[in-house]
């Protein structure tokens, strides 16, 4: 973690503590403002956004202690305040933007690669498929950020803001469409550019990718990605079993098919259950 990231985390932790002091409409005001500013920060400097949110929080607490409400102190239109603040945020640096773009792409590429490895035969990478996956994962991040950002200041009567059921239905439809798009890409992308790798090169590459990916999640304490680690380990293990001749002979080529399907289903289910638990923990913290 860079010193800048540590600084951001330090301010964020302090702000989380301070935010608990806000009461009633002040708490709602700040909650909305903070969410709106954070989801606008895709291409803005994260330290600037966090620092400005912190300043608002500290001043709002002082206003509250002096008997003022958020509306009396900041004005009635909190969205206008947020939009004016966003206009003045510093833009993110080239490195930060690249990190933001490469992060979702890297995650989906690693998952796709590990899944490709679990298939039988020589390792084949469909380059066009990987390009489409990159575009889709990037598009997905932008859409999610934009949707959350726009939904914060929706009118109170808007069904999306009012009803948890509507939120759940739209969320489910969205993620089903995204999953469908990933599956469609994986199944229907024509094999125009294929990169092929045979044993033992495929196993070495696989071990390297798995080690880097797992190391990045565990050492970097990426809690939101913990739940995907069993899936990665299981798929990698199945891939290994299929490619190392001695192991394949021990397990048997018929059994390996069942093992592959079992590993994929178990990994997926663990990911869903553990993912939900971990997300609740993160939200609580």
């Amino acid at each position: 973690m860079s010193s800048r990231d540590k600084q951001v985390e330090g301010i964020r932790n302090k702000m989380n503590e301070l935010q608990k002091k806000l009461e009633g409409e002040n708490a709602t005001f700040f909650d909305d403002l903070r969410g709106y500013l954070i989801t606008s920060s895709l291409f803005y400097d994260e330290l600037d956004v966090t620092e400005q949110s912190y300043n608002v929080c500290v001043d709002l607490i002082e206003a509250q202690e002096n008997g003022q409400t958020a509306q009396e102190y900041f004005g009635k239109d909190s969205r206008k305040l947020a939009d004016s603040m966003i206009k003045n945020f510093r833009h993110a640096g080239y490195r930060e933007i690249m990190e933001l773009i490469l992060l979702p792409i890297g995650i989906y590429w690693a998952i796709s690669f590990i899944s490709d490895f679990a298939k039988r035969g020589a390792l084949k990478i469909n380059i066009l498929e990987y390009i489409l996956i990159a575009l889709l994962s990037l598009g997905m991040v932008v859409i999610v950020f934009e949707a959350v950002h726009k939904s914060i200041y929706l009118s109170e009567n808007n069904p999306f803001r009012k009803s948890k059921i509507v939120q759940f239905i739209i969320g489910t439809i969205f993620f089903t469409c995204i999953t469908g798009a990933f599956v469609t890409i994986s199944v229907f992308t024509p094999p125009i550019w294929i990169a092929k790798l045979v044993y033992p090169g495929d196993v070495i590459l696989m071990l390297t990718v798995t080690a880097i990916f797992l190391g990045w999640i565990i050492i970097g304490r990426k809690r939101e990605l913990y739940s995907i680690t069993p899936f990665i380990v299981l798929m990698a293990a199945v891939g290994m079993l299929q490619r190392i001749p001695v192991m394949l002979a021990v397990v048997g080529s018929n059994n390996i098919k069942f093992l592959a399907v079992g590993a994929a289903i178990s990994g997926f289910l663990i990911n869903i259950v553990w993912g939900r638990i971990e997300m609740k923990r993160i939200a609580h913290d």
Binding site: K14, L18, V56, V58, Y73, F74, S84, M85
Partner: protein
């Protein structure tokens, strides 16, 4: 022209003037402006001004422990800010003089 529109250009200079007198932070600044007679001034107007002034390097903000609470960002005027303030004062006196002359 509404009062808010008239205030828009003036407020930046007033914020610079308050900061030039002493180091201050957002909430204190808003209270000081209200005490000075800008009764309708709200945080929603002042925060973007502070951001803009900081971006233009007319003021600098430093996180410091506050005697009465958590650490907060205190603002100080820079040399460029002082120059800008001097220009604002000159322009304001000129405008004020002309307006007074017309309304005499």
């Amino acid at each position: 022209m509404s009062k808010t529109q008239m205030l828009k250009g003036v407020l930046e200079g007033c914020v610079l003037q308050v900061i030039s007198k002493h180091e201050t932070y957002g909430y204190q600044l808003v209270q000081e402006l209200r005490t000075a007679g800008f009764k309708d001034v709200i945080g929603g107007t002042i925060y973007p001004i502070l951001q803009k002034l900081e971006k233009k390097e007319l003021i600098t903000g430093v996180m410091k422990p506050s005697p009465e609470g958590p650490s907060r960002k205190y603002f100080n005027i820079t040399l460029t800010g002082q120059e800008k303030l001097a220009i604002f004062m000159y322009d304001w006196r000129e405008i004020n003089g002309s307006v007074n002359q017309i309304f005499k």
